[in-house]
Symmetry: C2
Amino acid sequence: MAQQIQIDQPRLTSELATLATFTDAEPVSNGTSVTRIVFSPDDLRARAWLKELATADGFEVRDDAVGNIFIRWTGTDPDAPAVATGSHTDAIPHAGMYDGTVGVLGGLEAMRTLKRSGLQPRRSIELVMFTSEEPTRFGIGCLGSRLMSGTLDPKQADALREANEPADTAKTLAQVRTAAGFTGDLASVKLSPNHYHAWLELHIEQGPLLEREGTPLGIVTSIAAPAGYRFTISGLGGHAGALLMPDRKDALCAAAELILAIEKHALATHVIDTVATVGTCDVHPGAVNSVPSRVVLQLDIRDTDPTRRESVMQAIRRDIETLRQRRGVIITEQIINADAPAQSSPHLVELLEEVCATHGISPRKMVSRAYHDSLFMARIAPIAMIFIPCRNGVSHRPDEYATPAHTTLGVQVLASALAKLASE
Amino acid sequence: MAQQIQIDQPRLTSELATLATFTDAEPVSNGTSVTRIVFSPDDLRARAWLKELATADGFEVRDDAVGNIFIRWTGTDPDAPAVATGSHTDAIPHAGMYDGTVGVLGGLEAMRTLKRSGLQPRRSIELVMFTSEEPTRFGIGCLGSRLMSGTLDPKQADALREANEPADTAKTLAQVRTAAGFTGDLASVKLSPNHYHAWLELHIEQGPLLEREGTPLGIVTSIAAPAGYRFTISGLGGHAGALLMPDRKDALCAAAELILAIEKHALATHVIDTVATVGTCDVHPGAVNSVPSRVVLQLDIRDTDPTRRESVMQAIRRDIETLRQRRGVIITEQIINADAPAQSSPHLVELLEEVCATHGISPRKMVSRAYHDSLFMARIAPIAMIFIPCRNGVSHRPDEYATPAHTTLGVQVLASALAKLASE
């Protein structure tokens, strides 16, 4: 099999570059900056372009009610559960051009290359492009795969509001998806547990380990447990000149203490697997001459051990209690998500190792600290992930980079594995 | 004179309420929330409405190149330097309906009431509505009066950029004012030092002193010295799951320490007149799952004593140096403005005291901790300010409130003083 697979590397490289031109914000100087927020005009243009590519190669294309895209190559046994792969094309503000996109365009190239090789798969092979893997717009990541796996209630999903808009103008997911043309019932997005025979996702590592070791490929055996929280700190607003210092209950000063408490407790585990990040800080009213009356912080905390993650949260909550009393502010905590870790299917890990062996590669078995749609696909299908190195372990930045050679190798392994799985 | 002045209190109250309906953002639940950012569609509608009111009463109306509005009642000696009053109608996000507006609509009512009384002023009486007293959009307050007084270089002013937009999409003042229809050379905005015979501004106190004492009116003898700084903290961005804690140079954690250092040093003077506020905190890239790579903070620091204000800044800078070294971040400081305090004209203060006496009022002479366009008008004209109480000393909030009785009294004193000055 390995010998027959011919990846069109120039075409894949060019398609990755084209996809990067669909960006909501202009590129910045230090790289190809990509911003593609779900259902923005550029996200919708990127989706239309992807569907055109798929149609041109004779694959069937459909969307579901939340905008997940399914690109299907029907097998000789169309009723057998399909083999599936995929990832996402949305991007956080000022991010790079490889996160997610390698799994989507690489998945498409894997299907094309198998078709060119003359394969007639028994099981259908399906590529999925998930809606809103990134939590930027609605504050929660993996929207599409959460709904697909039945992890998120469809009504709650439709009621999600834009996280970075003022409360009085933030639109709901229902409003935004309707405006984007996705009008069906969200309950219809859920797939049955035996819908897919297997799920594979190709992705850049987003960490430094493969590059440091000089290993060209990783096989993910488990995905770390992520959690998201929103803290709202309410104090006392007023005029920056007239509200005297001793009378203040400044919400931003209280938020600053909370940010530092979070950092302190995440470091205090002394375990490399604990990471905690406050990525947004929205200040109300947000004027230079007005004392902040309300601040909203979003916390992303992850650990391979959910118990340790929870113990860090408990330490943070004790500091919040002190902060409340000392500063006279109100602090509320809202849980956005607290997900369990996922394990890869031993069968799929073994199959990927066999495929790697035919390519003469010794892959590294590893944990994914970043989370992915595969975390949720694991609830309805056997999963595994293929990682390729990225330069300096950098991701979510304009200088994110994966070499064409590594990308091509990842697609080769993916294509071989899909072909094997389609014949099972 | 005092006996002849009949303020149309119902009309003034109604006009204040109408002006509050021109708001960029919807009102919030705890009061009449007003947001009127300079040159927003609602700001432009408010300006058009004000001009209609002035024209209906037979006053002449003109704009200058930065959009300052001049409403003129020509006197019997049109070449004599005019007597002027005014304030602003722009409002920070989610503010109240009295800050600035009382001086504009109250000034208009003062002119109307004098006209109704049959007065034929020798000097012309002019009402000014200043552009962008609030620093929200361009990061610097009192744009209109800075240009009018020659305090701000016209070229530098035109190059100012929107403070709350990403660097790559922020428009310049030149672009924004041109789009709003103000196309002249900003150098033409400057007035000569003898252009006005006298300048008076009626304003709510924005502090608690008048209300606490039960004094219905204050005469401002000096305006505190304000300064504005912008701090840019640059660290290392990355994926919130994959960038490990020991490798981080989190710009938001560094910013949190800076926010707390600023608070600490402002409190450490143990003087009520020192106030320091970080009112905005813009996080880049601003995604829940991305480590902040850059944070921009805006600091507003004021003191009645500019030397003490500078010593607080020096203490903050020493902490920044430590912070830089300990966290490996880059912190740059940009001065937005550092203005000297202004003194009222002893003659105008005396004249206002006389007018108060004819109304049977004992005014409080006081310092303005908030700054106003009068701070800059003091550089080209003798100035004084009239303060009226505001409930709980609250300003820049939806629950900002001044009673109709206090507003009316302020307009009566203003009208009497304008009449006296017009005959000087």
